[in-house]
Subunit: 359 residues, 2 copies
């Protein structure tokens, strides 16, 4: 704790103003309202079996005193922590930054603290987090998962951990999920390329090289494959790259493609940032889109318009906010065992100049 000069100097002065206001406890509220602690506790949490008059008296006293329950005490006594965790593969990628901010806003507005957990694309961190769900459930009431690749065992463990769960971009999970139809989005993107006469296609998949694949990435890859298959085209394995979903990954994959494989006629990038990286790599070789290759991504990143990148736009903040709301709802109605729902948001093709008809 900070105790340097400022507070030191003050020490000699009126100690009254330094003294931290003693905590307003539930006792104070009980005393002021003339009711028992127990009733106050129930009134504050809007539990049933509290008369309206009591409800009012308590609310009154509480605001008058500026009472705020101690989350620590509440938690310890078996209540809730008043905080939720957002778990993301990384916090820096555009998608996650957007989704995190949107979700955080929802949580904050519901009076919940947001604990941020970035897996940093590191298996070790992943294991640490999901290997000890007890530790997690001790500090938060619920978890918002953003595009996390979970094993069946992990899903199972989470579902029975007592934690409320909601997710973005996940699949067949026993909790609420919101996302886009990734396979369809990829299928549409690929068909856009196909429709422009390109048939020699490469894909920069969102899979992290050497890691468990997130549903998002495999779905998009499947959509790509299906589109090709429907046109009786085969996928050249040389043109399937695992690029992850970072600019750097896209750049690396594209460089590899150019140097050690071959140039396709068009490229479907798993996300816009990957596409940015690919564009960078192209430029380094004196190439560009759509001159030497057409390229399309998914996201509609803020910079995509500027770079003229064609893309399948998806609502990112909406997904984060939506899922956050579902989580909050789940938290507020613990008993309600509604069947987990999967909400699918729309995507939209945005044609820009990075894709054009094959000459």
């Amino acid at each position: 704790m900070y105790r340097a000069q400022y507070s030191q100097e003050k020490k000699g002065l009126s100690p009254c103003c330094m003294a931290k206001a003693p905590r307003v406890t539930i006792q104070d509220v009980a005393a002021l309202s003339g009711l028992s602690i127990c009733t106050v506790s129930r009134a504050l949490r809007r539990l049933p079996n509290v008369s309206e008059s009591a409800q009012l008296k308590v609310a009154d006293a509480a605001t008058k005193l500026g009472y705020k329950a101690s989350s620590a005490a509440s938690r310890l006594a078996g209540g809730t922590t008043g905080s939720v965790a957002i778990i993301a593969p990384t916090a820096t990628a555009w998608f996650f930054a957007q989704a995190v901010e949107a979700a955080e806003e929802v949580f904050a507005d519901s009076g919940l603290d947001t604990v941020l957990i970035s897996l940093r694309n590191t298996p070790g961190v992943h294991r640490k987090v999901f290997g000890d769900l007890d530790a997690l459930s001790q500090r938060v009431d619920g978890v918002l998962l953003l595009n996390i690749a979970l094993s069946d065992a992990e899903v199972e463990a989470l579902a029975s951990s007592g934690l409320a769960v909601a997710s973005v971009g996940m699949h067949s999970v026993p909790w609420d999920n919101v996302g886009i139809d990734n396979e369809e989005a990829a299928w549409n993107a690929t068909n856009h390329l196909l429709g422009l006469g390109h048939w020699d296609l490469a894909v920069l998949s969102g899979r992290e090289p050497g890691e468990r694949s997130v549903a998002t990435a495999t779905d998009r890859l499947n959509g790509f494959r299906r589109a090709l298959a429907e046109h009786d085209l085969t996928v050249d394995p040389d043109l399937v790259m695992d690029a992850g979903s970072s600019i750097e990954g896209g750049r690396r994959a594209m460089t590899e493609l150019i140097e050690n494989r071959r140039m396709p006629s068009a490229i479907f990038a798993g996300c816009d940032e990957t596409a940015f990286g690919a564009l960078m790599a192209l430029r380094e070789f004196g190439l560009s889109a759509p001159k030497n290759v057409s390229i399309i991504g998914i996201d509609d990143h803020q910079m995509s318009w500027f770079l003229g990148l064609s893309t399948m736009a998806q609502p990112v903040a909406d997904q984060g906010a939506f899922a956050a709301n579902l989580l909050v709802e789940g938290l507020q109605h613990p008993g309600r065992p509604t069947a987990p729902a999967s909400h699918v948001l729309d995507t939209k093709l945005i044609e820009r100049k990075s894709t054009r008809r094959k000459r």
Copy 2:
């Protein structure tokens, strides 16, 4: 809490495997080690006056049991929460996303939970957070401030709140801070423009229109002004725009400049994202850099290389990690009232093709 089908179905089965492992408490550790709770508590927190043999026995028992202290109980009893807050003006901007991730890593590695608080560039949220420091200090042990514009009263309140504090990009605050020399960076950037023969300069300042200015933004503006003054140039008020530090803000400011003011010979943008926005706006008018105007930013954003944007590079993740480490240290040595230090990291001019000699 999630209680849908999965757990429902299980209900009939062996209830043993559904039963959550009962919490390992300090009692269990005490029992196993043959010592009292009190001694265990002290040993665990490495307080003085614990014999080595006890220390060992406790550590042994704790690991054997996989004991982790309940943060709620600990907090309630007057201990620490084991979590810290990161407060940022927004979580989506590149700078903050980078810094947050770097800091989160440091905190996680120190066993601390990270509570993310985004002010969303909203005065209301700002007030809510800094107006009730008690609520904050109840849930976290320390706070990491990222470029927050604080009033004197808020600084004072924070310093005497009992919270450990560290910050990035702040000024003359009574706690550890790390940042770059913003005035110098701006001065260098401006001199780069001046050195290329440009004397009719505009600035897209990082100040949010209509809000308290963060130190970072005003410092950069001052550096710009000083550079001009040193060359006996006056600043045309028409060419000073408050653009905030977003792409959108840069675009808006640049559009305003083109439409309602006049084109300068060169532009100093408060940060790279602002510059991106400016480049977008330019393109919308059929203009471009460096053809119609030279432009330089500050940051060295991941995309800047690609866009050929000249800039003053600053180490972003380093700043976040550094400040986080200072905070952790402050947390670990509560008593030590070292004088708050300000650490200044280097910046570097990176010339790219968005700036060129005036013709």
